[in-house]
Homo-oligomer: 300 residues x 2
């Protein structure tokens, strides 16, 4: 279990046994139990403010841009005209901030189950939450699975910024949810979901990818470095009903001027392409059918 001691927050988790991440703590800023989870915010010594849900680091001021830029610009740069976007989870607002950098976007619906995450982020993570009051943004407090089931053929892009598959969040990794996602997409729509990583969660990553392969004509898996996430990286699964999309070759190629105007610090078009190149062991695991049932801890 994660804990604070001697000026350090140490994250450990049954999902990735035997591996921990530590961040120096300057000051605990907030600690409450919401209806859904334990919420902790602390000011770290070198990574800015840090949001922790149920003992798991969600984001830090210093490295959040890697995650938010990748989970957003990977799908949006593969869509020729994204207008209607749904975000499931993502109450901190970082994903919404990145989506609004695409001028074609007319509406972003943020469906977050825990209102307290939104409120806490507005207060303690203002650089992430700063676009939540934009007129194009609609905040819906509620269950993402129910919301997607009730909205058919409505979105060009659906981003699932979900926590790890523990407790209630596990349903966001299941086939039923992915079928709802597919049905909630407009023609040529794209989904992109947080998809754990190629180290301590290789079985989850491969299972998600193969599930998307079964349900969509096109699927892809990309990843990026992310220091404060266990094992230092995070992956993304993408899928679309449009068989002509090649996720590793985005139709929108950004110029240096666009990168500057969009204030991108991690993403560029070369980074996009490289993110789909998997280490040999991971490439083999993704191609191996039935990988989802294998346990990989200590065995990559």
């Amino acid at each position: 279990m994660s804990f604070i001691r001697d000026g350090w927050f140490w994250e450990t988790n049954e999902q990735w046994p035997g591996f921990g991440v530590g961040l120096g703590v300057e000051k605990v800023l907030y600690q409450e139990k919401s209806k859904y989870q334990d919420i902790l915010v602390f000011k770290s010594t070198t990574f800015g403010n840090v949001l922790v849900l149920d003992g798991c680091i969600q984001c830090s001021d210093r490295d959040e841009f890697c995650y938010q830029e990748m989970i957003v610009h990977l799908p949006l740069c593969c869509h020729s005209d994204p207008r209607q976007v749904l975000v499931v989870g993502g109450g901190d607002g970082g994903v919404v901030r990145e989506i609004l950098k695409h001028p074609s976007v007319e509406r972003v619906v943020l469906c977050e189950i825990d209102e307290m995450v939104v409120e806490v982020s507005k207060k303690f993570l203002p650089n992430m939450a700063k676009c939540l009051s934009d007129p194009r943004v609609q905040i819906h407090i509620g269950d993402g699975i129910k919301f997607t089931e009730e909205h058919k053929a409505e979105f060009d892009i659906i981003i699932t910024d979900a926590p790890d598959p523990i407790g209630a969040a596990i349903d966001l990794y299941k086939e039923g949810y992915y079928k709802s996602l597919r049905a909630a997409l407009k023609p040529n729509g794209i989904i992109c979901s947080q998809a754990e990583n190629l180290w301590i969660d290789l079985h989850v990553a491969t299972a998600l990818f193969q599930q998307c392969q079964r349900l969509f004509p096109r699927a892809g898996y990309a990843f990026a470095g992310m220091p404060t996430y266990a094992s230092g990286q995070i992956g993304f699964v993408l899928a679309t009903t449009n068989p002509d999309i090649d996720f590793a070759d985005p139709c929108k190629k950004l110029t240096e001027e666009q990168i500057k105007a969009m204030d991108l610090r991690f993403y560029n078009t070369d980074v996009h392409k490289a993110a789909f190149v998997l280490p040999q062991y991971a490439k083999e695991a993704m191609m191996k059918q039935g990988a989802e049932s294998s346990a990989v801890n200590g065995n990559t």
Copy 2:
């Protein structure tokens, strides 16, 4: 300072303040002070045996292949006929194991300052050290800087598998050493050095890259994920006296059959190319002259 408590080894370090890595400990296997450093080997709960020098994790059975494969095959696949190879540091033997997978290699000199690292690795990290007794391998116990100064125009490849730039190892990051490396290379030779990472050591990474740019006609910076290293990634600086070499486009492109025969689990030719694609902020930092004097902690 790093410590073991409640069944966990927690690595913290003044070089990357405010960031820590934890590994579950099953059993401490070895703990001694050599002439040069504190040596600790423990059996971890999920990452196999782990070697720690002066409190810093050097390698684990589970993820060492990422590092060893990249620091070796990046330079060797860019050289048309590597025969004579020097390794400075690398007493665990993992780098030597990978070098010997290239059939053109006639001789590998391992120059390690601390004999105890070699002995401990043979005993507790047999999968890394297993090639140290190969007849093509010459082990020289001594100072790598002195060794390179005394050997001119002798090596096709020189790999510096150095610890972090703390204490005595700091000289392995300086211009004097890199001038010796250049002089120790045969025509068209290539160097590849461990070069910290793009997060908590961005200033060291950029300084090393720019130093190589000044001293060689060609230089490159690549990186790869590595869970047990602080921030989850590790970088490599490459340089050569041959201006026709494009590090991001290796002359040796491996087939799937070669990958299998060489027992590669991380490296393949696509991974090679992608490793040189840097996140936007890191690309900008590398291009910015004089970056070596800037402090970046908390400021990427």
